[in-house]
Amino acid sequence: MIPQTFDYVRARNVGDALKALAAKDGTKVIAGGHSLIPLLKFRLAQPARLVDIGHLDELRGVTEVRRGAKIGAATTYRDLLESKLLAERYPIIAEVTSGIGDLQVRNKGTIGGGLAHADPAADMPAVMLALDAQLVLRSKRGKRTVAAREFFQGAFSTAMAEDELLIAIALPPLPRGAGTAYVSFEQAASGYALAGAAAVVKRSRSTVAHCTLAMTGISDRPYLVRAAEQLVGTQGLPDAIEHVAAQAAAGVEVNGDIHAPADYRRHLAVVAARRALQKAFVRSKK
């Protein structure tokens, strides 16, 4: 478990990190290290240089942006859990984060690191999709924003260019009174999701006015379930929820492995989707 030799640069600021990335010499960004270091130790990643951004205050913390929020990319999971703003406006963040790793992992691991790593069974990406998060990327060439739904492009593959750095996650306001929920079935060894579902449901009087459903762990990337729209206009009765949940993995190429053969994982996707929709529905205000 000894990595290949690499150079290490401790960035003094974001500009410093962007300069290092602009060289396009295979430099990798490290913050909490909980995704990258295992890859280094297995020599699955052999970058010539690491640039460390984990200590940069400008990348840490949760700030209020109108009725939404902005999360610095190097904000630790623990900081997410301790954010009152997130607890108030996006309780699903605490719900998902409390199940990530253990205390030590949450003390060091960062939301940006996890998202940029794009593990197809990670929990947070599904939540980002359900919340319609916008990922703010910077490079020496400039700044752009990519929607979470465009960001994840495959297993461990994102829309980021080699010279780009994820600097923040912008969360638009949730529909007023919306309920949210994250439900997952964990792989016993890793704790990653065999199937995970993130749901946002808003009711307006007696009908569902808004519904998004995002899945993770099922295939090579997290995805939004289009059929979630079919709940809108219904009364959110169990049959309607079941109808939507049944389509949680429809048309998706489902992974199978020693922990969950594809048919079981497909089944879990439906169960997770149903439970997440039900919880979110119950939590939404009438």
Partner: protein, 786 residues
């Protein structure tokens, strides 16, 4: 004065362990230390061509690189040390570094020694090896069929041995039986996963010809002997030190190539050499456990009397026969086929089979968990077949408490027991009747509750040396202690066993302190260094307390006898007139005339005034060789709820009632039960080592191998009954493995009981949600929901 024996005092070893002040092998630093790394085969089975080490030798910091051919003639191959007789055992040579062929992913191919650990690791990538891949076979049943890939030239069909146990007439019993049941059981491979992986620091001094090896060992004296044989160094010039050892579960019993390679490198290079496994290397290169495919049958009468048991077992050995491997699925498994019952007719056949996988050897319980599991699954299956409560079937077949010593059909004689006692206690704790009623109600609501019973008897306290010799075990099984009393009366005890987490620094001190009327702080237990400890055979097979603890007791008694002579002399009294009271001898009738043990110890050590014929000094050595094994027993109960939608199993209650004789330290006993039960629940619900068709280990890291986590485990309720063993003066039996032996069947029986309404008879462990769900789908007849 209250005795320490029986008192749940805190473990004395814990403060250093939990404050980071313990010294493990990897903590050993010596001047001039250099580092060893081992290149391991990425193929499960391949012909080995040229191993080109030129580029690695030229790499910065590299001191030497060896391939198999470089050392073959210099060292004796890794020996198998349990040559079970009468089974046509074949143990082909196990070279320290492969030559001509590799036989599992992880088989050592070459080694690099360098100035730093990183340089050694980097240089591995520069070694070029020509492999010609061959077909792999990791399933032991398939590996001994005609046409399977052949691992060793002189072992047809990969059949290492065929061992038979028989008592009574099983064929006749089955022919006449009113009821018969059979199961095909897979006892999956497991990865022992000690918290500390293996490590070695070898230091050879060419000037003195002395080799010192610090190593992660459960049995340093055995490793001293084997190092001496393999390296051809006289045994008295080899010193093995097992410092703090972070768990073993059996995986640190065997002799491995790696530690010996470190010795060889130190001899060649004249500098101390360190090798430390990382976790993924540990999962490939350290022994695995279990790996049986079993065809098992039980027969009996319609009213629940068991009349026969038959087995055909394929036991995977991996690529080579590890140190104790042949004894595990035979002596420690097949001889226990009677379990806790009076089964009159038994026939078992065990095929040991080489496979292209990591070698298998003793893992916590070693053969007995497999035996208990198959017996207890069969008892439940028979109970269901004849429509009888599984508890009643057990009651009806237990060896009765007044029948001990009792000789079972396989020939073993159990020492003592009260099997109804532990069963009744466990049933009372659960309120079995109430649970059955609750289960019935739940079933009507479409919920699946189940209760699993597992009643076991196990063989441990290994064991009489004469038996060891008779069953081909390549060593003795007595154990030893030296009790040395210093002038101030303080005591050090040097033991031949090697605790590595079991707490004997506490329990053995309790034994000695009681003998001398001391507080426990006055006694230190020393273990692990062959230079200071007497010849012993190590810690495994739940033998340390029953055998080593007895040696401690005997040595302390000898010391006390001598001290008494000195005390009598000082008191100018006859020994016969002395009474031991708390911590001193008192002259009967003259309570003011007293000499404490410490006062006698001082006089013995200064020798100013000793009785005639008494030598100065105060120490004694004892070697204890038991006349029989000991047989702990108990009943574990587990209740579960199975979620029929997801296949998830929730353990509702786990009750363990064990009898290991009088507990020296009830808290430590409880801890051993907890640990064992958790390992067993892990085996029952989630742990499995999986190879793919090419022999690649798919569960090669903790991301895929599901070691139980605290958050996944239930609360464990423990209780005990006390039935002393007549085999040793302490009356104690082992308790290190009982939890693992009992718990696997309790959990699986509970799940199968829960799913009985669906017609499900058996699901192979581990009962992962995916497997349980698939079984439910199949039972419902929709073929897995595809």
């Amino acid at each position: 004065m209250p005795t320490l024996f029986g008192s749940g005092i805190k473990r004395r070893e814990d403060p250093r362990l939990i404050t980071g002040r313990a010294t493990y092998t990897d903590d050993v630093k010596l001047p001039g230390l250099i580092y060893l790394a081992i290149l391991r085969s990425p193929y499960a089975h391949a012909k080995l061509g040229k191993v080109d080490t030129k580029a690695a030798k030229a790499a910065p910091g590299v001191l030497a690189v060896y391939a198999g051919a470089d050392i073959t003639d210099r060292v004796v191959p890794v020996p198998c040390a349990w040559n079970v007789p009468n089974c046509n055992l074949k143990t082909p040579p196990h070279p320290l570094l492969a030559h001509q062929k590799v036989r599992y992913v992880g088989d050592g191919v070459a080694m690099v020694i360098a100035e730093s650990r990183a340089a050694a690791r980097d240089a591995l990538d520069l070694i070029e090896v020509d492999y010609e891949p061959l077909k792999a076979v990791t399933d032991p049943e398939r590996a001994c069929q005609q046409g399977a890939p052949q691992l060793h030239a002189d072992v047809p069909n990969n059949l290492a041995f065929t061992w038979v146990v028989a008592g009574g007439n099983a064929d006749e019993a089955f022919a006449k039986a009113e009821a018969k049941v059979s199961l095909r059981i897979v006892q999956q491979r497991l990865l022992p996963t000690a918290m500390e992986p293996r490590a070695a620091v070898a230091s050879y001094n060419a000037g003195t010809g002395q080799l010192t090896l610090w190593a992660t060992s459960q049995n340093p004296h055995i490793h001293r002997f084997l190092c001496s044989v393999m390296l051809k160094i006289p045994e008295h010039r080899v010193r093995v030190i097992a410092p703090e050892v972070g768990g073993g579960f059996g995986s640190k019993i065997p002799c491995y190539a790696d530690e010996v390679l470190a010795c060889l490198a130190s001899m060649d290079l004249g500098r101390p050499v360190k090798w430390t496994e990382d976790r993924s290397e540990n999962y490939k290169a350290t022994i695995h456990g279990r790996d049986h495919v079993e065809y098992v049958e039980m027969c009996g009468t319609r009213d629940g009397k068991i009349t026969g048991l038959r087995t055909r077992v394929y036991a995977g050995l991996g690529g080579y026969a590890s140190t104790a491997a042949p004894g595990v699925p035979t002596i420690l498994h097949g001889l226990m086929y009677s379990g806790a019952y009076t089964i009159p007719n038994i026939h078992g056949t065990v095929h040991g089979v080489y496979t292209t996988a990591t070698p298998v050897d003793a893992y916590r319980g070693a053969g007995r968990p497999e035996a208990t599991y198959l017996i207890e699954r069969l008892v439940d299956t028979l109970a269901r077949e004849i429509g009888m409560d599984p508890v009643e079937v057990r009651r009806k077949n237990f060896i009765p408490k007044d029948a001990f010593p009792y000789t079972v059909a396989t020939g073993l004689t159990y020492d003592s027991g009260n099997y109804h006692g532990t069963l009744d206690k466990a049933l009372g704790m659960l309120d079995y009747g109430a649970f059955r009623a609750e289960q019935e109600k739940a079933r009507q609501q479409g919920r699946y509750l189940g209760v699993g019973v597992s009643s076991y008897a196990e063989i441990c306290g290994l064991g009489p040396s004469q038996v060891a010799g008779a069953v081909g075990f390549g060593g003795g099984l007595y154990d030893s202690a030296v009790v040395r009393v210093y002038p101030t009366g303080m005591v050090r005890v040097y033991i031949g066993t090697k605790p590595h987490g079991q707490g004997e620094e506490t329990t053995f001190a309790q034994i000695v302190a009681d003998e001398f009327g001391y507080p426990v702080e006055s006694v230190e237990i020393v273990h692990g260094d062959t230079e200071s400890t007497p010849q012993g055979w190590g810690t495994y097979g739940s033998r340390t307390t029953a055998v080593g603890g007895t040696a401690v007791k005997l040595a302390a008694q000898r010391v006390k006898e001598k001290a008494k002579k000195v005390a009598a002399h000082l008191l100018e009294a006859n020994e016969a007139d002395l009474e031991w009271k708390d911590d001193a001898w008192v002259v009967r009738g003259s309570p003011d005339k007293r000499k404490s043990f410490a006062e006698a110890a001082l006089m013995a050590n200064v020798a100013w005034n000793l009785p005639a014929g008494v030598e100065p000094g105060l120490e004694a050595t004892a070697f204890f060789d038991p006349t029989n094994f000991v047989y702990p027993f108990g009943t574990h109960l587990c209740t579960v709820e199975v979620n029929p939608e997801t296949g998830q199993v929730t353990v509702l209650r786990y009750i363990a009632v064990d009898d290991c004789g009088p507990p020296i330290n009830p808290m430590i006993v409880e801890g051993q039960v907890h640990g064992g039960v958790i390992q067993g629940i892990g085996e029952a619900l989630q742990e499995m080592a999986v190879y793919d068709a090419e022999g690649q280990l798919l569960t090669g890291t903790m991301m895929d191998y599901a070691v139980p986590k605290a958050s996944q485990m239930p609360k464990i309720e423990t209780a005990h009954t006390v039935t002393p063993s007549p085999v040793n003066p302490l009356g104690v039996k082992g308790v290190g493995e009982t939890g693992t032996i009992a718990s696997v069947a309790a959990v699986v029986n509970a799940v199968c009981d829960a799913l009985a309404p669906l017609g499900i008879k058996h699901i192979d462990k581990p009962l992962t949600p995916a497997r349980v769900w698939a079984a439910i789908q199949q039972a419902k007849g929709n073929g897995g929901g595809r």
